[in-house]
Subunit: 354 residues, 2 copies
């Protein structure tokens, strides 16, 4: 027996297709009594709407834009790659995905870009940028136009975004603290150096916050030194870290909040400081090498591919006013050590395991 369609509802309820459709989409102009008849028929025959057919008839298509910072870091390039991958995956579902790069440190350029999309027809924007008053206003404006706005990877807590896609960075900091504390164990060196960038201000601030919380609560004997601001720049770290290590022999741990990890790895490797426990963020060729060579003890990672796909799903769900499966959209805060380092793997075709 084939699956029931709108025709089945119509004949069961003794009405026409148009009326069924009106009820299905809760459009006005149907008597309450008729609505009841139709609904009765629907539940009686166990009808489930075929969304693909509906969207086809509606000629619905989607246009989503990712706005991410200019810059050539491995992280940002990787982000652009996974967005592009997501784009390919959904293009056959009438979903158009674009990426634009803006100078994140220039609020005016960013806002100009966003305003532009307010006039052209887009359904959703996912933006990764530091929060400024100008950005806040631009987001309010976009949402008034009915455009979905997501904060991507770096939260915008004071803006009227529909959602935040990314890990809880306070929890990330707490996790880093728990790991570094337990890994350091009972060493005599009780100082921890925190190295942060600052470009994605909000996430770095949150991580430091969570880190301090947990060190204080769980490892009161450990002391967290003032943040070394290194602008995610390996050269800055390579220049400043040796002096810090020389001046303070008590440094037994480093929490690298942002980028520039090759600086950390080079300095520690050169000085043979295998005794220093290091926790860093993000899985890149550099941090992977650090992990395998033993300089980095653990990484805290978010799956960028997941974030990109999740952002697309969220924007589509909002456009269609459909519910979201929260569990699927939660970006996991992953702890990676040498033993659970994932293997590489891209698009696999059918032939792989036959």
């Amino acid at each position: 027996m084939p699956r029931p369609t709108v025709h089945d509802i119509a004949s069961k309820a003794g009405v026409s297709l148009a009326t069924v459709d009106r009820v299905l989409n809760s459009r006005p102009g149907v008597r309450a009594k008729t609505i009841d008849k139709v609904n009765a028929a629907i539940s009686e025959i166990g009808y489930v709407r075929d969304v693909a057919a509906a969207n086809l008839a509606r000629q619905r298509d989607y246009r989503f834009v990712f706005v991410i910072p200019k810059g050539e870091s491995w992280f940002l390039r990787q982000l652009e790659n996974v967005i592009d991958e997501a784009r390919h995956r959904v293009i056959s579902q009438r979903i158009q995905v674009e990426t634009v790069r803006v100078d994140a440190d220039n609020p005016h350029a960013l806002v100009a870009m966003l305003d532009h999309f307010g006039y052209h027809r887009v359904d959703g924007i996912a933006v990764m940028a530091p929060e400024t008053p100008q950005l806040r206003d631009a987001i309010t404006h976009l949402r008034q136009e009915g455009i979905t706005v997501l904060a991507l990877l770096s939260d915008l807590p004071n803006s009227a975004v529909d959602d935040f896609v990314g890990i809880d960075n306070v929890a990330a900091g707490r996790t880093a603290a728990a790991l570094i504390g337990r890994f350091m164990g009972e060493t005599s060196a009780r100082d921890i150096l925190v190295i942060a960038g600052s470009m994605l201000a909000r996430d770095h601030i949150d991580r430091r916050l969570g880190f301090d919380q947990t060190i204080q609560a769980m490892f009161p004997k450990l002391r967290v030194l003032p943040t070394l601001e290194a602008w995610n720049d390996a050269n800055v770290i390579a220049k400043r870290l040796p002096a810090l290590l020389a001046a303070n022999r008590q440094i037994g741990g480093i929490y690298s909040v942002g980028g520039g990890n090759s600086g950390v790895i080079d300095v520690l490797a050169k000085q043979g400081r295998g005794d220093v426990t290091v926790i860093a963020h993000d899985l890149t060729p550099i941090t992977q090498h650090g992990l395998l060579s033993g300089v980095i003890d653990a990484l805290i990672v978010q799956d960028l591919g997941h974030a990109a796909r999740s952002a697309v799903r969220l924007m589509r769900a909002r456009r269609d006013r459909e519910p979201v499966l929260q569990a699927q959209e939660r970006i996991r805060l992953e702890i990676i050590i040498k033993e659970n380092l994932p293997e590489e793997g891209g698009q696999i075709h059918l032939e792989e395991r036959q």
Copy 2:
């Protein structure tokens, strides 16, 4: 300008819709020259096929079955729940998902069930069961019928399955070893007790294997005791563990490979053995409580919801002969400590964060 359709290809190439369709689906009966013309038109106008419309016209629907063990453990109930959740999510995409429970320890019942599906029309089966010769043969048969077969959570390395959906359990064991070794640090107690069930033989074997590998390689001073076989039964553990702890004061760590964790938690809590480092698997109310109360130091977790959705996506992709995004289907081996314990969350509707 609207997005190009088959009609646009047809007029551009000067052929009919039917011919375009033949080329698009690489069906025979078209001259090579015509094929070239059509393909030229396709790439010239940048055509992308609307898969929803195609599936509608094909009247394609899917029928997938999950075959999982009988039993009322939290783990199995949770598995059934997430499969049901996945079922709801895809029902409007003409995908029918069913779950059947079989006595996994009775190879004949299992095989009878699978044979049944070989006769009725199913497109894919995801099976969680221990590998037996009978199962191996049944799978070979199903695949000859053109049915996709997946190994779910517990691998079937010697069977002709299309794919395995779940974590790498050897890597899970290695990860457990690395964590327990580092967490134990320089305590004087150097013995580790391994508690395993046996129902899902394969995964437990793999975990123990990986565990031993890494302890030997990284922590040669630690000694792993013979496995306590407890059949995932908290009562068995509650009975036998106290004696083992009393007989051997050197036990400083416990790796709980399977279920029955409430037994471990109760015994350790009652005896005030906060000094014992414990690593367990799976996030359940029991293990969550163990983590929060400090008895369990870390959990190794796989997201069952992800596994269920992934299985459905894989079976559909195989049915449609479409490629799979490997990165999305990799079930992550997650390390959970108190600090990165995820919050609860089910279906969220639009109103949540406005």
